[in-house]
Symmetry: D2
Subunit: 103 residues, 4 copies
């Protein structure tokens, strides 16, 4: 089998082993977003809509933390082994992503 | 035209004046969720996916704060005028929704 | 007894009934902040410091939600009864405070 | 000079190079906590207290993100070079700390 550049590129993207898990969770998240749209359309009670928004936000945060874990476990660890500027850059990038999530 | 109970009920749901604005924002949010699903499917770079998740979370928080503002401005103000247990219950309910968003 | 302007002013600040509860919680929060300073000074393990920062942030959020509840229950309800521009301004102010906490 | 185990242990705690910066920031955070206590004691306006709580929370989050960056840059990178179970454990630990901050 011929390994293409794309395959090699995929191979170092850390979340690939759990891809189906993420796709399922994101499909559920899309459904939640559609459900909230429907609630506003049907003029459901405001507090019930807020409860669904909180649930959706939590689901998104769980996906983000999962992706970050995979990223640290693969990309950052690989970069750490190479060391030097590449490792530094990967960690700066990861920290900035974490800062956006924490804020 | 006969006003049904449901119409009367809708009438006191505060976000109704801005319904189209919310529906547009929620349609965009659905699109963002679909985009993130596609990014994972296409195995885009993890950090770029995290950036989109942060953007989606911010968009959801903005909708939540907007709905909460409308809710305070209408339901809570109406209950406050009636006073008593009803007003207390509405505020407890609003505070619990805020606590879920802040957490 | 002469009621001063300050007393009258206090009277409409909603959190006053629970003042001791808040003061105790805030004293504990000060202690937590001092403890984190000491942990860095003593070069404790980074993850343990992060755990304490998360605990302190949660404690602060709980105080904020409590103060907000009191504020809605008193200032906002009072303004709602008066109605008009005053009520609108109070709710805008409360929503902005909520937005800062949610973000 | 005899290097004790404790010194050696300190040496691998990543934040040490910026210790003074962290101590200064944490001293300021203690001052902010004390200021919020004083505001409640003096019965300042609730919304102004909430603004100070938001500022304190942001300051704490910035310290947490800084410590996490240092932690990734040192402890996690060191563990990554060793590899194996140690690296995995360090990343699980870091992810759990991130999850507590994001939530």
């Amino acid at each position: 089998m011929i390994e293409t550049v794309a395959d090699a590129d995929h191979a170092h993207h850390g979340y690939i082993t759990d891809k189906d898990k993420y796709l399922n969770r994101l499909r559920r998240i899309e459904g939640q977003a559609r459900g909230i749209h429907k609630m506003v359309e049907d003029e459901k009670y405001c507090i019930d809509i807020l409860t669904q928004i909180s649930a959706l936000t939590s689901a998104l945060e769980a996906v983000a933390v999962g992706l970050l874990d995979d990223h640290l476990r693969h990309c950052v660890v690989d970069a750490a082994r190479l060391g030097g500027a590449e490792a530094d850059a990967k960690i700066t990038e990861a920290t900035q992503a974490i800062a956006r999530l924490v804020r």
